[in-house]
Symmetry: C3
Subunit: 164 residues, 3 copies
């Protein structure tokens, strides 16, 4: 029985990690649909109550404030033209009840004759397990414009040594 | 024994869901390679026999009809220029033998001097488990050109309440 | 007991495959952050010691040589402008201790007024399980410029029959 017990425990650990990674990927994949449909509530729901979104300038602090980004004039203009905030598959690292994810995002905005790549950014997400599921505690987004700061955000993919 | 039985059953349920999500992601990831290699058969094979693809205009009805989209003049022209139909990581929701997936797609087409973003769309996929695996029952694709219809497609990501 | 044994063994097999696929996806997702931060070491660490990267021209042979691609003048120029090497979700096929992955990659480079899509490519990855984890044994990358060769790379997604 102890062999069965240890195999069950090992499977539960592995499956728990796969589920956490899946939940985090789905959380990140939900960001674009939330903001591109101008849904303040769905956007806010991705963040922890005291979560922060720092995309340059003054960081938005608290889930409700993050949700209100859909009302920023620049964002409204993007959506009126036709807009897609697309997250690439991130590098994810789960450690108990916290996790990080590092990866690219792109904003495509309509021009009337196709779409322009308006923004290509490095993102580092800090995530936290809450009673309601994984939520964003802190996200930093910096445009990949050649500045060392944006490369520094991207380099956080390797803080724990990268994939094993 | 009943504890082991219930833990085994729980694991089988969780692993089954992870496998379903993986299969659905892989199905969606196969769409681009199928159409960009002009493979009517591989494209048709992703759809259920009576599946539908609605990308504006008259929907294509039945897997064979969907497969023949690779012979549309506009598609042939894209492929001659160099073409990539790239699906972003979707929000996936499995419910027994059916599932939905909602996310972005982009068409990049060669210009001779790089690639132009020809189309950025919202997609909602309805999927069904068949004896041969998951297949597409219905896919709707609408360009994100600022119209409310495309945003409505994207908003279906939250029909079941989004990620948990 | 034999029923429990066979269910445990089945779960271990399934979970092992899901874990392999996850590790391979994470390996591929790490490529962009490695090269876009000019990290020769992180780039080399993704390849097997005798792995090859063939992106046209003379293939780079050996992990150390692959890592040195970050010092190529063209790459340095991209990074100075602001650069993102973004991999799309690939079609992955694991077979014991080897695997393949087929999918798209894109290079976005800064223009000072947004980002240009500099390269859209088909990729076929051959991967191998090593004592340190999954590594790249061979990667081929060809720009999707309308040439049959690039379509051939993409068509390798269907060599094993595609998703099941």
């Amino acid at each position: 029985m102890s062999d069965i017990e240890s195999r069950l425990a090992g499977l539960e650990r592995e499956v728990g990690r796969l589920r956490d990674e899946r939940d985090i990927m789905q959380l990140i994949a939900s960001y674009g649909p939330a903001v591109d449909t101008l849904s303040a509530d769905e956007t806010a729901a991705l963040w922890a109550a005291d979560g922060v979104y720092d995309f340059g300038g003054e960081p938005l602090s608290g889930a409700a404030a993050v949700g209100r980004l859909v009302d920023l004039p620049g964002h409204r203009d993007y959506v009126a033209r036709g807009c897609a905030h697309v997250m690439a598959l991130p590098v994810v690292d789960v450690d108990g009840d916290t996790a990080t994810a590092t990866g690219y995002s792109r904003v495509y905005a309509g021009t009337g004759d196709g779409w322009k790549v308006e923004r290509v950014s490095a993102n580092h997400w800090q995530l936290v397990r809450t009673p309601e599921g994984w939520r964003v505690r802190h996200r930093v987004n910096r445009p990949l414009d050649g500045s060392p700061g944006a490369r520094g955000v991207l380099g956080r993919a390797f803080e724990r040594g990268g994939p094993t």
